[in-house]
Amino acid sequence: MTRTITIDGVTRIEGHAKITIHLDESGKVCDAQFHVTQFRGFEKFVEGRPLTEMPGIMARICGICPVSHLMAAAKACDDILAVDIPPTADKLRRIMNLAQMVQSHALSFFHLSSPDLLFGMDGDPLRRNIFGLIREHPDFARDGILLRKFGQDVIALLGGKKIHPAWVVPGGVNAPLTEDKRDAILKEIPAAMARVNRALDYFHQVENRYPAEVDAFANFPTHFAGLVNPEGLLEHYDGAMKFVDHQGFPIAELGRNDQRHYGALIGEAVEKYSYLKFPYFKPQGYPAGIYRVGPLARLIVAERCGTVNADKELGVFRTRLGRAPQSSFHYHWARLIEILYGIEMIQRLLQFPDILNTHIRSRARPNRLEGVGISEAPRGTLIHHYKIDENGLIRWANLIIATGHNNLAMNLGVRQVAERFVDAEHLSEGMLNRVEAVIRCFDPCLSCSTHALGQMPLRIELCRADGEVCDVLQRD
């Protein structure tokens, strides 16, 4: 069948998605596709710009996770400058990256996903949103909003503003941490810890209500990938990229010093129905080399977290679900564990005696013509790869964003949910919501803006075997 991809005028990647569901002659679902219909073009329009502008430009890719792009871009620039950044700058960057993860995970869990969990997948859409949450679960909603505020405040205290801080620069950061700011962050740690613990309690009260969703929300064997530190522990800023199979056994590792060779492990395929590329584990080819990234993948890839409370919760997680749970529904729990870890780790980093040092930037000129930066965004592993000319101007850029790694899994997940919940020629609101909810598990970067109101712009087409569209549900 032939179809036309709709290109929307809205240019933000977090906003518009389309899903098509294809039926066979008997009315059963035979295929489903998740379309990302925006084209951003960052790889192209950075060509010709100076290297030192890259973190600032790349941060503009996203308003929710700008820090992630700052980190990956700055690390790619560090690689080109061939410098080790000062230890204090390394810690400060880590703190900002963790703060970003805390605020983004809080947004994903509380604002976007928790309405489904607290009101039910078939709950009234008029209640099933952040405002319903504020009205009926005010303490829970307040915790979510204040947890997000905690992360945003840390970013602002370090970088001068909450969104798009220009503080992370090639070679380090451009302003040291002051004692009063450090103390201001430390003062907020206990309250933030209490909030995430309350959220975990809430989650444990409601998670058992969704056995069908656990069973059908992108629940299939895939590989998992994420960064680990030299001890094999959870890592978000700088480490080896490790691939494990569906049972959690290591199958490949991209060492910290081999990151320029990521192309040996990761291939990128394209499909005509989506602007989002389809990365795959190269040794197994496309599409067999499907893998997942993000909070769940990181917890499967890592031996353990490395902080007391997060490890305790991870122990409960593994006792209940096993070493490598396959259902993407468990991303929610993994996300909460990572918030816990993020807050504990921020506290630990702030207590290092050298955290207030003023040597925070290494100066160098480009010493290589190519560099790669890999870090963990809230949604998963983020790769920035640049090539420059001899004058330090960007000649070529390749970005593999976290949402991309999960593209194959999201498509399969949408199909799995459709197969499970669609068996008639009419779509129900509950079905629409479940399709959205499986996408929300992955917290893709294309869903931030309108999703906050529980109304992610989404178009679902139900097609007969001959390609005729027999039903359409659309949210604008």
Partner: protein, 242 residues
């Protein structure tokens, strides 16, 4: 004993309803600023010759139907000047909007973000959008110099750099090629800056540039600040020597 005569005459005029006296030969802009009356400028810089290119300092003079550039118009006896009016404000906004539309001024990712005269001017003139279609020209960045950079995307052709290079440093490395919208700053005979045989690397051009067009290499977003205090000092020293 002969009487001492002076060629400097005293002139009285009115600027924005304020009676002012000044010496002959002074421009409206100089006199206005001496009397704390603000007239916006972008190409004018104290210490450099007057260029009159940006047209932001246009003022109304009574009994004259046209507008006059305050930086290039000398005061005359009995002159009545108005520095602000709805018409002037409209023209000034239009000029700055056209500067934004002409090239690629992306403040958010510019190294001069927060320290830019063009950006400040837009704020001052309350410009919240540009009414003209952006041209989005494909312009290069000259990053060939060891420690300075020319980004044509951010250039407004105020020619401060050309003037400071020729008049203060005496090198005359910089000049302009082309006409109209295709005009561009060049080095020597349109060579990469790094290949210039005449550039002394003094950096004065970087410091007088009002935007992020001329910057130090290695600066990241928002990090470029300019030092302009040197110019009146250098000019004064030169006058004392002469």
């Amino acid at each position: 004993m002969s009487a001492v005569t002076s060629t400097t005459q005293s002139i009285t005029l009115t600027i924005d309803d304020k009676a002012i006296s000044c010496r002959s030969g002074e421009t409206i802009l100089q006199v206005a600023r001496e009397n704390n009356i603000d007239i916006p400028t972008l190409c004018y810089l104290e210490g450099l010759t007057v260029w009159g290119g940006c047209r932001l300092c246009m003022v109304e003079i009574a009994a004259s139907p046209k507008l006059h550039a305050a930086c290039a118009t000398e005061c005359t006896e009995g002159m009545t000047v108005r520095t602000t009016s709805p018409r002037l404000k409209q023209y000034r906004k239009m000029i700055v909007e056209m500067l934004f539309a002409e090239r690629n001024h992306v403040c958010s990712v510019c190294v001069s973000n927060g320290h830019c005269e063009l950006q400040n001017m837009a704020t001052k003139l309350e410009i919240d959008h540009v009414r003209f279609p952006y041209r989005f020209p494909h312009l290069a960045v000259d990053n060939s110099h060891d420690y300075m950079r020319l980004d044509h995307n951010r250039c407004i052709l105020c020619l401060r750099c050309v003037r400071v290079c020729g008049e203060i440093e005496g090198a005359h490395t910089k000049d302009v090629k082309g006409r109209g919208v295709l005009s561009a700053i060049i080095h020597d005979l349109d060579e990469p800056w790094g290949d210039s045989q005449t550039c002394t690397g003094c950096g004065k051009c970087v410091n007088v540039c009002p935007t992020g067009a001329l910057t130090h290499r290695g600066t990241a977003v928002g990090e470029m600040t300019k030092k302009t205090e040197f110019l009146p000092y250098l000019t004064l020293m030169r006058e004392v020597k002469l």
